[in-house]
Symmetry: C2
Subunit: 257 residues, 2 copies
């Protein structure tokens, strides 16, 4: 049930999975082959020890939030209560927040324990990439000096639709990333614009935090968040985040109180 062990076994897991898939496809439905629409997909990681979020990591988003280019990555946390699958709805409680916002982001997952790893070696410790929406309650984020309370609402991290391994993405810094609400594009950028890229983040973080298999790192959002336009998410809105070479996650906002 927990994919962390799968990650820890790296190449071996991948070969075993390839063979299992080949066998199932040859044998046909009834032996583990299902149609995409018939299955419920959860998040690709269930119980990470850490979800580390990077803030202010695209120059255009830094500008729209009226902040300076940081000398060090800005990092904050979400907890595992935020994780949900790539197509599950988000329950909006307007009694908690009137300023719900999206943040489309490239996420990566750690595959091997990492401590004091260099930028050059960094990718050896990455299991793969996935798509995240760092759903944020802006009013809760800003009512105190620390953002955590606006960042860690239950189910505020739709993740998926799957983990794409490094053999399929040679360069994580050349992927278009787009967020739309009800079909209207709101964020449109490219991971080439990341201030601190995946290699630098692994090196920076592992210098003082031991990273563990299954740890999720979300790399920050480009310009175009709702807040910059005074537009917040409402009951019935559908938010899509799409990253080239990985896939799309889609979250419907459903008012609960």
């Amino acid at each position: 049930e927990d994919p962390t062990l799968f990650l820890e076994n790296g190449e071996f897991s991948l070969r075993a999975a390839d063979e299992a898939v080949k066998y199932a496809l040859e044998s046909g439905t009834g032996t583990g082959v299902y149609k995409r629409a018939e299955v419920h997909i959860g998040p690709p990681i269930l119980n990470p020890k850490k979800i580390i979020c990077v803030g202010l990591n695209y120059a255009d988003h830094i500008k729209e939030m009226n902040r300076e280019l940081p000398t060090h990555p800005v990092v904050f946390a979400k907890f595992s209560n935020t994780l949900m699958g790539p197509n599950e709805p988000f329950p909006l409680r307007t009694s908690l927040t009137e300023k719900l916002d999206y943040e489309g982001e490239l996420a990566f997952v750690i595959g091997k324990r990492a401590y004091r790893v260099s930028e050059e070696e960094a990718l050896d410790y990455v299991a793969g990439y996935t798509v995240a929406n760092d759903i944020t309650a802006r009013d809760m984020q800003k009512r105190t000096v620390q953002w955590l309370q606006g960042k860690t609402l239950d189910k505020s991290l739709p993740l998926g639709p799957w983990l794409v391994t490094l053999d399929e993405i040679k360069n994580s810094q050349a992927l278009s990333i787009k967020t739309s609400v009800n079909g209207v594009v709101r964020q449109s950028s490219n991971t080439a614009n990341l201030v601190f890229n995946v290699n630098r983040l692994v090196a920076f973080l592992s210098d003082f935090i031991t990273l563990e298999p299954g740890d999720i790192i979300i790399t920050g959002t480009p310009g175009g968040v709702g807040e910059a336009q005074g537009l917040f998410l409402q009951d019935g809105d559908v938010v899509k985040v799409e990253i080239e070479g990985i896939g799309t996650i889609e979250t419907k906002i459903i008012k609960e109180d």
Copy 2:
């Protein structure tokens, strides 16, 4: 190995443990009875899903940090890489930080899943109390707008010496709390001075975060941190945090690079 299951079984676990202890004591050494000095004690919780920290929660500490009394609790995170036992040393890397500081704090641990729990019911969801030192790298905490990177260094949360259950502490708001460095008292306060007490914190947090058994909440530190006096922790320093009715944790700082 993981005490979370023990917590989930509440009263039943306590009765079973009482009986096991009684049996072992009657049977003598060799059947599970050891001297305190002969055993290594780890932290009372090993793999919490969350470590939620409350900042600026004693009026005197708020004043010494030149901040306003908050309208809502300020919350931030540490990750589980920070956990260590009550008498283990802390490895100081001066290449990372030149401003290492202590924060003695009352911690409590969640015993039952809690979502939207009232202040009145709050203690039904608390398994017990323990002592924490929220070791902080002030320079890393303040170099960006979010504190996390200065708060989550490996081993920066000595915790223990044990979990004291609610039957032994009737009122968590009447406990003296003291921190000393090399025998000199630096922090001396009482949990009566908490701005947001345990009941309010459970109600506040569980309103938007599902709390799980084993989650650790550290409630904030009183006035007297090293930074306010320009005194930071050095190689060889011994930091003790003592809370009335719970116990003492002691951390030796050992320079590593």
